[in-house]
Amino acid sequence: MILDFLIDSYVQLGYSIQVIEIKFTGRGGNGVVVAAQMLAKAFFLSGFYPQCFSLFGGERRGAPVKSFLRVNSSKILLKCEIKKADHLIVMAADLLPEEPLTENLKNGGLVLINADRPFKVEGPFKVAYVDAQKIARECRLGNIINTAMLGAYARISEILSLNYLEKAVREYVPSKLDENLRALRRAYEEARTF
């Protein structure tokens, strides 16, 4: 559905515009950077042109981290930070006061939040949530919640088949492959929109 839209917009508006911009926020150690890379790989496998990068500051566990992903059907020339994204993936909900949705998400944009209960937000946004923390813990992954977040993202964004994500996970995850795949699939089942 969105894929069609993308291709249409490319044909209509030329190669410089209408990419999907996706933004990840979280804390160092959650797997924020690898999440964007895995998603980029999944898009790449399904035939898109992804561009993925991160903002590095003091790289350490627990510090706020952002990573970015642009997806297009052809080469992306835009090489700058994503201010307001089309899709925002919030891996640490406690960072929301510091990073308000209105500054990080376009109007009408989609936000996926890691939370243990339905999450109310102000503004013209589509909101979804998944308890990635619980899933990761139960799959014995501790605080590494990126595969769970991606499973949920695949479900609610409806752009990407879970197959490609599984392939990407297989390529990127250094250990505990089965646990990560289980978290991916379970989050796909448990993600909720409202």
Binding site: S16, F44, Y49, Q51, C52, L78, C80
Partner: protein, 385 residues
């Protein structure tokens, strides 16, 4: 075959494809992933060269010079303070006429301490006698490393292949990896001279008198100028084999332009979008991407910019007390032309500051309104658009 690669890893792939024999380097952000990837490929047997971790960049360059004098294909990489630390060895390398290729990943030269990109680290090595090539993205970096060996081993001069830190080095994008067999055809192993020939002992770089010193310097100067032609040929041949070619400069929409933007490195991509947007609004804007900085492409600059009214140069670097370095070089190179444009210098994007297309558009609009150019550059971050 395309693969998702960061710019750093694209360079490492180019080193593998070029079948480099010897790599000596010292880690420094943001260059380190190049070094790590090469080490990984060697340890996994994907590449058969030798890797040496030197105790400093200075020693790394010294090792590269010696290895290259022994006749093997040599690579190194560095950034920022690392390049600065190499400085005197860089002079030695070009004076020894060794065909070394070095990847430079731009990063601010401290202080203040920071990580973002800033071309001052490589531009301040302008007079070391190295050929300098600024690349826009990972794909261009990969292709340019391979071309660099071809040029370098023909003219016996060292080459810096330069990318922006983080923007190019860490952006992960699809990169086309050429077939090894085609690379072997394009870049066969040369029979480089081994200057440490024990059966024919000699003293390399002995003390010379003023006439001889001048003779060698003049020879080096002339050969450096020749490198431009060689690069154009190498680029053309590369294009024929692989379908990608870049030129020593790249003009975009300049044929009928009234105003031109000059960029180097990764900011060119956003500038391309800005030119499109300006054109769609009816403004006759064009773009010149400068890839080759040394030897300076006088002919191309005169050809593409000589007829314009106004030229904007955006420098991601600064020479304190003077201005942007590309801007100054451009002004100087066009001084003797009969018709020359007004040149407007801007400094911006330092330490990786974002330069989105809108900024290029706004800068262009402001220059269109300007009555006469200025000597001291304007700083983009202080401008109100």
């Amino acid at each position: 075959m395309a693969e998702l690669l960061s710019g750093n890893h694209a360079i490492a792939e180019a080193v593998r494809l070029s079948k480099v024999d010897f790599v000596a380097a010292y880690p420094i952000t943001p260059q380190t992933p190049i070094y790590e990837k090469i080490a990984e490929m060697i340890s996994e047997g994907k590449m058969c060269g030798q890797m040496m971790r030197a105790e400093s960049e200075h020693s790394a360059m010294a090792a590269c010079i010696s290895a290259s004098l022994a006749g093997v294909r040599v690579f190194t990489a560095s950034s920022s303070q690392g390049i600065a630390y190499m400085h005197e060895m860089l002079h030695f390398a070009s004076g020894c006429r060794v065909p070394i290729v070095m990847a430079c990943v731009n990063r601010v030269v401290s202080a203040p301490w920071a990580f973002g990109t800033d071309q001052t680290d490589t531009l301040s090595q302008r007079d070391t006698g190295w050929i300098q090539l600024y690349c826009e993205d990972g794909q261009e970096a990969l292709d340019t490393v391979i071309m660099a060996y071809k040029v370098s081993e023909t003219i016996f001069l060292p080459v810096m292949v330069i990318i922006d830190g983080f923007y190019t080095s860490h952006f992960i994008e699809p990169v086309e990896i050429p077939e090894q067999t085609l690379i072997d055809q394009y870049l066969p192993k040369r029979n480089l001279p081994n200057r440490f020939d024990l059966s024919n002992p000699a003293f390399l770089q002995n003390v010379v008198d003023p006439p001889n010193y001048t003779r060698f310097k003049k020879r080096q100067f002339d050969d450096t100028l020749k490198a431009r032609r060689l690069l154009i040929e190498a680029d053309k041949e590369f294009g024929e084999l692989f379908g990608r070619s870049y030129g020593v400069v790249e003009p975009l929409e300049l044929a009928d332009a009234e105003i031109g933007i000059v960029t180097a490195g990764s900011m060119t991509s956003c500038a391309r979008i800005a030119v499109r947007t300006l054109r769609s609004k009816g403004i006759k804007a064009g773009l010149l991407k400068i890839k080759l900085f040394r030897p300076f492409p006088y002919n191309e600059v005169a050809r593409y910019l000589g007829t314009l009214e106004k030229v904007i140069v955006i420098d991601r670097n600064v020479s304190s007390g003077k201005g942007g370095i590309f801007c100054d070089e451009l002004k100087a190179s066009m001084y003797n032309l009969k018709n020359r444009p007004e040149i407007y210098g801007f400094i911006g994007g330092l330490c990786g500051e974002d330069l989105p297309p809108e900024k290029f558009e706004k800068i262009t609009l402001s220059v269109l309104r300007a009555k006469k150019p200025w000597d001291v550059p304007k700083w983009i971050h202080r401008m109100r658009f």
